[in-house]
Assembly symmetry: C2
Homo-oligomer: 164 residues x 2
């Protein structure tokens, strides 16, 4: 049986994490979307302001996947939760339960912390939707995600307050 081990990411994992971020972007049909650098991931994972947490999945001792998450917040519950930004298993390691092990690991982390939510987003065509359904996640069909970015964000920030 393959040996699966889930552990916290360390600064030395950053090159592997960035490589897997790029592989995931390719899978998500956005191969040119990744502008992140190793320096960015080091700063935001281990710098003065920690912006994300990351768990690494090892298969027989080799890095084979990652789960990168941050804290979200529920004003209804008055407590933080876990938002899973990226879950990825390298192609050669798929079908051996690493993804499920990482999700269960995060659910355990949430429960231990007293959180009541694990959230994520998935592309509408991604077969991982079945995987998430099987693990008890439910689609939140009534909530629509919106974003402003790029030139539109700059334009919004430059909007003058009405006189008054």
């Amino acid at each position: 049986m393959p040996e699966i081990h889930i552990r916290d990411a360390e600064p030395g994992d950053v090159p592997a994490i960035l490589r897997m971020i790029r592989e995931l972007a390719e899978f998500e049909r956005q191969p040119d979307a990744v502008s992140a650098t190793e320096a960015d991931l080091l700063r935001d994972g281990w710098g003065a302001e920690k912006r994300y947490s990351c768990r690494i999945a090892e298969l027989d001792g080799a890095v084979a996947g990652f789960a990168l998450w941050f804290h979200n917040y529920s004003t209804w519950e008055g407590r933080a939760g876990i938002y899973l930004e990226d879950l990825y298993v390298t192609e050669s390691a798929r079908g051996q339960g690493l993804g499920e092990r990482m999700i269960v690991d995060l659910a355990q982390l949430a429960v231990r912390a007293g959180f009541r939510r694990l959230d994520l987003s998935v592309l509408d065509w991604n077969p991982a939707r079945d995987f998430y359904h099987r693990l008890g996640l439910q689609q939140r069909t009534e909530w629509l995600p919106y974003r402003v970015t790029g030139a539109a964000l700059l334009a919004l920030a430059a909007k003058a307050a009405p006189a008054g």
Copy 2:
């Protein structure tokens, strides 16, 4: 002209914030969804582990709205962004531009911090969707939000690893 002022929330605002969280839950047709207490909001806003940030909108010197947000993270960009969890203007203060001022304020905060995204979610029937469109936000139709919570989260955390 009404005088609008946007400022950081302070611990003394927590009773007003919780009251507005409840009003927003009522507007969102989930009047019983709020279990948060003032102690929760104090701990998570000003305690050892800061879990959210909050801006207050004042109209002619009185609290009339709030914008509660946290940092999300983009692995593609290798930087944090702003996720706006709640934006609310009290009923009597609507139509005077407070919501727009709070969104512009957050866009400015994002740009100053070097962030490239402002994200939020809105209920499919909420007329605020037009407001967000007008300010340059776009619906991300291909990304579907999923969540596991309650008994399903506990069941997921209790899932045993397969033998091996």
